[in-house]
Symmetry: C2
């Protein structure tokens, strides 16, 4: 990152908070005495699975869309994503009454297509490679004048994501530690800046799937490590660490732990059973670190950002669909 | 029922409310704009899946246990149940510091045994017939002096279950209609007495699986219909209508609708997908009536008692477990 690249500031987060109030859900914080007993800590789950569109992505997308000046916004927004950011951007664009152009790989499952088209976005399909997605998104920008809203390497998106941590610390000010999933780093970066501003002594730790550990490696190396080929059940965490997120993560994040896909599956299932909530694999990653003993939490007050609840109920990791002959 | 059998009174419900405050969870009421759009009504889900022990049964069991005089309570409580009432009674007994004796069929699944034994109850196994269960429960009463707490044919249990409807109407006073699942009738009977006291013009409608429709038949016949052999996926609703519940249901309940197991499964799945909460089949029964169009709700404000969230995640109706060769 060039030295003059702007960094995520607290002021941008505070502005995001005001801007998206009423456009996203103030999600609940859940806790469970049986989960607390199991690990000897006090766990507080910030339930972004109850967020609009089923994930924290509604925060960043809403902030980025409503931060645009009128003359830019009117031409619309573009992104290339098959996941929660695409639906969140489509929703935010509809709220503002501007066009949204979404590039999706042509192998995207029906449920994700439907999540985007219900908000009236225009979908462009392309081959399932990053190069094809970027080409298609560039072509759309050129032909429509719409602006790209990157899913995480964007300061307004990061500032929006940070508002989950702000709400969590308002609900539970005495936290010692916040655990946050990390994919591209937008949520972790935002969380870290917000949490350390509100409570300088707090520890913010990222948790990443072993099969997509580019952020953990990058934090150790001191620069963004390339060449990682993500392979994990946590489909929301396959993005590669962004430049803007890394700039704040390297300053404010104490550590990034990794967990196996088996630990993620076990953790997700236990959250369903005990909390009675539907959590997607990516959302279960912070609790997986606690349940698998990947970090010491005994006696601590721990906030966990439970990032989303969107998944295909026909493809649960411990089950397969019933086939009728 | 002999004419001098006491009926469930509002005073008993009001006493229950005070007695169990702090011993059970004041559960949230959820709503969803997309579910509302689908049916053209305003739906309010009273989420008893977030209740202690994962079901409304914690209310009735707590009230019944804490309503006992000291000299009776000290000898303990007995029930024969393999379901949510057993765990709820075990928990209430532990809260009061008295023994709980639970009779269970010897084919009870492990997860239900564990739910009871975690509260320190003494489990007696018997053959999986109603006669064997009743015999074993009677033997325990004779040998220990403990008192039977029936899962639904008990006025203090019913009064406890009624507190869910009281909370729902406090949260959403303008309801036109309340939909409530019906098995033995404890929840429906309590709901009906409470709702009609608080809002005399409200309609209270029961919803029952087609394969366990003894309450619907009894309401039509004007007497308790016997001989129904329950066969439904909604395992919490296989109980046969009780005498005390029927006495108030016939007065206060407008109608009892029935829904198929396929409609229950579809409704449960949609609640998971949209509300991001884990609901058991029995808990999805009221929404199944709405989603399947079994009753007219357009333009109404409808409360739905979402009774619980306990189920075996290895036995979801649309999935089968992965088998490793």
């Amino acid at each position: 990152m060039p030295p003059d690249t702007p960094s995520l500031s607290w002021e941008r987060i505070a502005a995001a908070r005001e801007r998206i109030a009423g456009k996203v859900t103030l999600t609940p914080v859940l806790s469970s005495s049986s989960l607390n007993e199991l690990c000897g800590a006090q766990l507080y789950f910030k339930c972004e699975n109850f967020q609009k569109c089923g994930a924290f992505k509604a925060r960043g997308a809403s902030n980025a869309v409503f931060a645009l000046p009128d003359e830019v916004a009117r031409r619309g927004v573009v992104t290339h994503s098959s996941g929660n950011h695409a639906a969140a951007l489509a929703r935010a664009a509809r709220l503002r009454g501007i066009p949204a152009y979404i590039v999706m790989p042509d192998n995207t499952v029906q449920v994700k297509r439907a999540a985007v088209s219900r908000y009236g976005a225009e979908i462009t399909y392309c081959e399932p490679t990053l190069a094809a997605r970027e080409r298609a998104a560039q072509a759309l920008q050129d032909s429509t004048g719409a602006v790209l809203v990157h899913p995480y390497d964007n300061l307004d998106v990061m500032a929006g994501q940070a508002t989950a941590a702000v709400e969590l610390l308002e609900a539970v000010p005495e936290l010692d530690l916040i655990l946050c999933p990390v994919g591209g780093g937008g949520l972790l970066g935002g969380t870290a800046v917000a949490a350390r501003k509100l409570k300088p002594a707090i520890r913010v730790v990222g948790v990443e799937p072993e099969g997509a550990d580019d952020a953990a490696r990058s934090l150790r190396a001191g620069h963004i490590v390339t060449g990682v080929k993500p392979n994990t059940i946590a489909d929301g965490l396959r993005g590669l660490l962004g430049v803007h997120p890394f700039a704040v993560i390297r300053t404010h994040v104490a550590d990034i732990d990794t967990v196996s896909d088996a630990a993620i599956t076990d953790a997700m299932r236990r959250l369903w059973e005990v909390l009675k909530i539907v959590v997607e694999p990516s959302g279960a990653v912070p609790y997986a670190a606690v349940a698998a003993g990947a970090l010491e939490v005994r006696g601590r007050r721990v906030g966990l950002i439970l990032s989303g609840g969107n998944l295909d109920l026909d493809a649960l990791p411990w089950m397969q669909p019933v086939r009728h002959a």
